[in-house]
């Protein structure tokens, strides 16, 4: 299946469609994997067909990419480079039998910018992934004013 067909399946889900394009452009996954991850419900804690040697690494990487996508949307693509005045880290906390989380941290002001996921990844589906992405984007938007206050207070 080509990327075009995958994107057609996500035509009514603009955020997931954008995420799919972003994952492909960054070469994090190929078209088939993106289709299994974003277009249908997972058949376990992670799509069985995509499981590698370490399920936790698989889940953690996907959560990391969700947070990175949300970060890039809100803080721009230079968030990790020397051009950025911030010192941001993404820390995933994957689990296959319990809740999984992904945290976005700013280390200069010691601020938690976002806490993503917060549920089990069992039977993750397009709706849940969309909600999680929206939740992280919202938290990151809100974090801008909190960061501004803390940077001012610290200086």
């Amino acid at each position: 299946m080509g990327l075009k067909e995958v994107l057609e399946k996500l035509a009514d889900k603009p955020l997931l469609k954008e995420f799919a394009e972003w994952l492909y452009e960054h070469e994090y996954y190929g078209e088939d994997a993106i289709e299994k991850l974003l277009c249908k419900e997972w058949d376990g804690a992670y799509p069985t067909a995509l499981i590698s040697d370490d399920l936790l690494v698989d889940i953690g990487s996907f959560l990391y990419f969700m947070a990175e996508f949300a970060l890039e949307k809100v803080y721009g693509e230079d968030w990790w480079t020397v051009k950025s005045p911030l010192h941001i880290r993404i820390v995933p906390e994957p689990s296959y039998d319990d809740r999984s989380y992904v945290y976005v941290l700013e280390l200069k002001t010691r601020t938690v910018l976002a806490e993503g996921c917060g549920g089990k990844t069992w039977h993750f589906n397009p709706e849940v992934i969309t909600e999680d992405l929206e939740g992280m984007i919202r938290q990151l938007e809100e974090s801008k004013s909190l960061l501004a206050v803390r940077i001012m207070a610290d200086s």
Partner: protein
């Protein structure tokens, strides 16, 4: 610091005496966690949690029960491993320490514990100010 940590590990029954005295310091040095050594990675992840719990108990004591604290261990293969301690009510990173897990031995453990404890001590003041100012 490492001696106190040893005693704490034994008191809590996380390892037996033989493991703590003979094996713990070289456990991951000769056999670093990697995609081929996932058991070692899980083992190290547990140990990072114990280090963080020890530091949190030592610095925050009873105060920790009034805070919404999360300990996040991370064992990286390409990226550095880390221990993160966050407080979610005030959205504060209480501690974040990167760990050289490829050559993880007693001097690195001591450095990580000291660094984490130092950051947790500083964070008490930061959290108090944030509660006061940000409500």
């Amino acid at each position: 610091m490492i001696i106190k940590f040893e005693d704490w590990l034994l008191e809590n029954g996380y390892y037996d005496e033989e493991t703590v005295r003979d094996d713990l310091y070289w456990r991951w040095y000769d056999n670093p966690p990697s995609p081929e050594n996932l058991e070692g990675a899980a083992d190290l992840e547990r140990f990072l949690v114990y280090m963080a719990r020890f530091a949190v108990e030592k610095v925050l004591g009873e105060a920790k029960s009034r805070m919404s604290i999360r300990i996040i261990p991370f064992v990286g293969f390409d990226a550095p491993s880390s221990i993160t301690v966050v407080e979610l009510t005030t959205k504060t990173v209480l501690g974040y320490v990167e760990v050289r897990s490829g050559r993880f031995e007693v001097f690195e453990m001591e450095r990580v514990l000291k660094d984490l404890i130092g950051q947790l001590r500083e964070s008490r003041k930061i959290v108090a100010i944030r509660v006061l100012v940000e409500g």
